[in-house]
């Protein structure tokens, strides 16, 4: 059963009204509490989902289990408490310690003692406090999860009871947030890095395996937590995965603080308005891409000084992108002169998979080359499991051969990326590769193959002159696309609202300039 009664419009209105009360000197503790309690009331389902699904049960239990064992303290001088601006990352936690000492079940005499020292250079996380820190973290996690569970299962309609349940979540969440944001928590997770569990091969359940229908936003959040996922060129270490997981649990508290602080910095005279841009519902209909690119209404001629290609230039580029490649002819023997056969091959599900198919079956395949790439992806994924790695490494050559069979599904422009991927697969054979190094390399390879798969799908779809709507396109992207398009057009109008062309653009919700440039940038990468 879902509690929700209010529409998204009501939610936006509530946020606006409560934020207005936080402006400048008007802000009071009461208003700030009301704002935070509303955020919890509106978002408690999601908070609860986050702390009970995905990797959360495993991470939770791992931390709790460590409370019952002993582990050594480690110095981490590289993690500094003092920010460049002189502020202390541990300050919020330091401020909360007296309250925690009074209310928490966990005894924290050493932490309390540390807050009384006059030495400003001390670290709150040290050999005297690290066990207390861990136990306190576990207690707050438990209490936060418990308070959310109580709120979610609350059947009462009594406002006082609801408010009390909200306040419990607020207090536990706030206290947990002060710990999670501290430098001390980073030091602690580093200390226990070697004891942290993260499941088989660092992989948390995939989106399709969760099956709870929570939408791609949450699943993406869990995906990003995977240990050894490559982010900004570096693998996510286990302690960083746990850190990000803890931050995810307290994200609403963080967001509330950031927004409230910003609003408080504004003078009361500044007004806040919120409008909702509601996009049209998606369906499968598309405008043929060639027609669209050549239509001056969507891709009008732009001034030469901007030095951007026209819609026709873009169209020509994409036509070239989909042109037959010489090596495809070699792969497919003499059938290339048959236009029907050639078309079917381009959308073939990959030679590795379709080798044994009867003639004519491949021409019915409308899924593009994704299936062939999926087989390779599965093979690589299996190598994440340390128990089967020895066996799979023997088959690396066969995986590379499978990959090579997919080369014809891509544009010649992708050859360099394709070869690079094959080389990286073979690197898995290298002697002396550590477990962490192997996982990092596997994640990099998987990312690269996923990109190639996407590009092969485009290659296929452009050839058949139609595109599919929805798949591979996240709701976030769609929202951003709508909003930026409108925003950009409004900017054009500001610059020259008397221009008939601009009026025409605005009057028909056109999509040209911004997407034109974005599309071009993407193609040039």
């Amino acid at each position: 059963m879902h509690r929700r009664k209010e529409s998204f419009g009501t939610h936006a209105w509530m946020l606006k009204m409560l934020l207005r009360r936080l402006k400048g000197n008007q802000q009071s503790d009461y208003d700030m509490t009301s704002f935070l309690l509303y955020v919890i009331a509106a978002s408690s389902d999601k908070m609860h989902y986050r702390i009970t699904n995905g990797p959360s049960p495993l991470y939770f239990e791992c931390l709790v289990k460590l409370s019952k064992t002993s582990f050594d303290f480690m110095e981490h001088p590289d993690i500094r408490s003092i920010r460049p601006d002189g502020s202390n990352r541990d300050q919020l936690f330091l401020d909360a310690i007296p309250l925690l000492a009074e209310c928490a079940t966990t005894k924290i005499p050493n932490l309390l003692q540390q807050t009384m020292t006059e030495d400003k250079s001390f670290n709150i996380y040290n050999k005297d406090t690290y066990i207390e820190f861990h136990n306190l973290l576990c207690e707050l996690l438990k209490r936060f999860r418990g308070s959310l569970g109580d709120l979610i299962s609350l059947k009462s309609k009594d406002v006082k009871e609801i408010r009390n349940a909200l306040i419990s979540v607020q207090i536990m969440g706030d206290l947990l947030w002060t710990m999670v944001r501290s430098a001390a928590s980073e030091r602690h997770l580093n200390t226990i890095n070697h004891l942290l569990e993260f499941g088989e091969g660092g992989v948390v359940p995939d989106r399709e395996q969760e099956g709870d229908g929570q939408g791609d936003g949450l699943d993406t959040e869990f995906e990003q937590l995977k240990p050894y996922n490559v982010s900004q060129g570096r693998p996510l270490l286990p302690w960083q995965s746990y850190r990000d997981w803890l931050r995810l649990q307290t994200l609403y508290f963080d967001a509330s603080e950031i927004v409230a602080q910003y609003i408080a910095s504004l003078p009361p005279s500044v007004n806040i308005t919120i409008k909702i841009l509601s996009p049209s519902l998606p369906d499968t209909k598309m405008l043929p891409w060639e027609r669209m690119l050549l239509d001056s209404r969507y891709f009008p001629e732009i001034p030469k000084y901007i030095q951007q290609p026209s819609g026709k230039d873009l169209c020509d580029y994409l036509i070239k992108f989909t042109a037959d490649r010489p090596d495809t002819m070699e792969h497919n023997g003499g059938a290339e002169n048959d236009g029907r056969g050639s078309k079917a091959r381009k959308g073939d599900g990959g030679k590795a998979k379709n080798k044994g198919r009867k003639e004519g079956e491949s021409s019915k395949n409308t899924k593009g080359s994704g299936m062939g790439f999926d087989i390779v992806i599965d093979s690589i994924r299996r190598m994440q499991d340390s128990e089967v790695v020895a066996m799979d490494l023997v088959n690396l050559d066969s995986v590379v051969n499978q990959m090579k069979g997919l080369k014809n599904c891509l544009s010649p422009a992708d050859d360099i990326h394709f070869d690079n991927t094959c080389q990286r697969i073979l690197k898995l054979k290298a002697a002396g590769l550590t477990s962490g190094g192997r996982l990092t390399l596997i994640m990099e390879i998987l990312e690269m193959i996923k990109v190639l798969k996407k590009r092969s799908l485009l290659y296929h779809n452009l050839r058949t002159k139609s595109l599919r709507c929805g798949e591979n396109f996240t709701g976030t992207r769609h929202c951003e696309a709508c909003i930026v398009s409108l925003s950009y057009l409004s900017g054009i109008a500001t610059l020259g609202h008397n221009d008939p062309l601009v009026q025409k653009l605005l009057s028909e919700f056109l999509v040209s300039y911004f997407f034109f440039h974005t599309l071009l940038d993407s193609l040039c990468q």
Binding site: K5, F8, G9, H11, A12, W13, L18, S34, A41, S43, K157, V159, R163, Q214, D216, G233, A255, S256, I258, Y262, L266, S269, V270, I272, T273, K275, I276, S278, P279, S280, L281, P282, M286, L287, M292, K454, R455, L458, N461, L467, N472, F473, T476, C479, A481, C482, V484, S485, L486, S487, S490, T494, H497, E508, F509, L510, V511, F515, T518, S522
Partner: protein, 162 residues
């Protein structure tokens, strides 16, 4: 251009609009194929001011997501020549706004769905509209809330919406 004029622009008037929406879908779908993994994106240099602004927008977008929504948030705080994204309400009488601080105008875009995200989950008219629209949330607020907007809003919300 006032807000009414803008609303008129978003109403379905021409058959051409259908093609415009189709073109929009075509481009966004094409873009989806080119999306590169985040770790391969080159870092984009942002000024401190830009970073701060993005931080606030990120935080605000988090707050707009209650459970299943996916939203994007944009703000405009420069210029007042055209009010496409949001209207600017007059400031308090007798108070001169500081010249460096413009009115805050946010526009939020939730994802559209053809059906509720989960069985039994109530459909939301704001995210199941048939045509693109720009909505002022003030226009469709439950009476209990709008009548008590100067009082204890949380109390009213819990009493009437929980």
């Amino acid at each position: 251009m006032d807000l009414n004029a803008l609303k008129a622009l978003f109403s379905p008037q021409l058959d051409l609009r259908n093609n415009d929406i189709l073109a929009f879908r075509t481009i966004t779908t094409m873009l989806s194929f080119f999306e590169t993994p985040s770790n391969s994106n080159p870092p984009i240099h942002k000024t401190k001011e830009e970073q701060d602004k993005l931080r606030v927008l990120d935080a605000l977008s988090t707050l707009f997501v209650r459970q299943y929504e996916i939203v994007a948030v944009a703000s405009e705080n420069k210029g007042t020549g055209i009010q496409v994204i949001a209207s600017v309400e007059p400031g308090l009488p007798g108070v001169t706004p500081e010249p460096t601080l413009d009115p805050l105008r946010f526009v939020v875009s939730p994802n559209a769905r053809t059906q509720p995200p989960k069985k039994g989950y109530p459909a939301d008219e704001f995210v199941t509209s048939l045509d693109i629209s720009l909505v002022n949330p003030d226009d469709n607020i439950p009476e209990e809330l709008s009548a008590n907007q100067d009082g204890d809003l949380l109390e009213t919300f819990l009493r009437t919406q929980w």
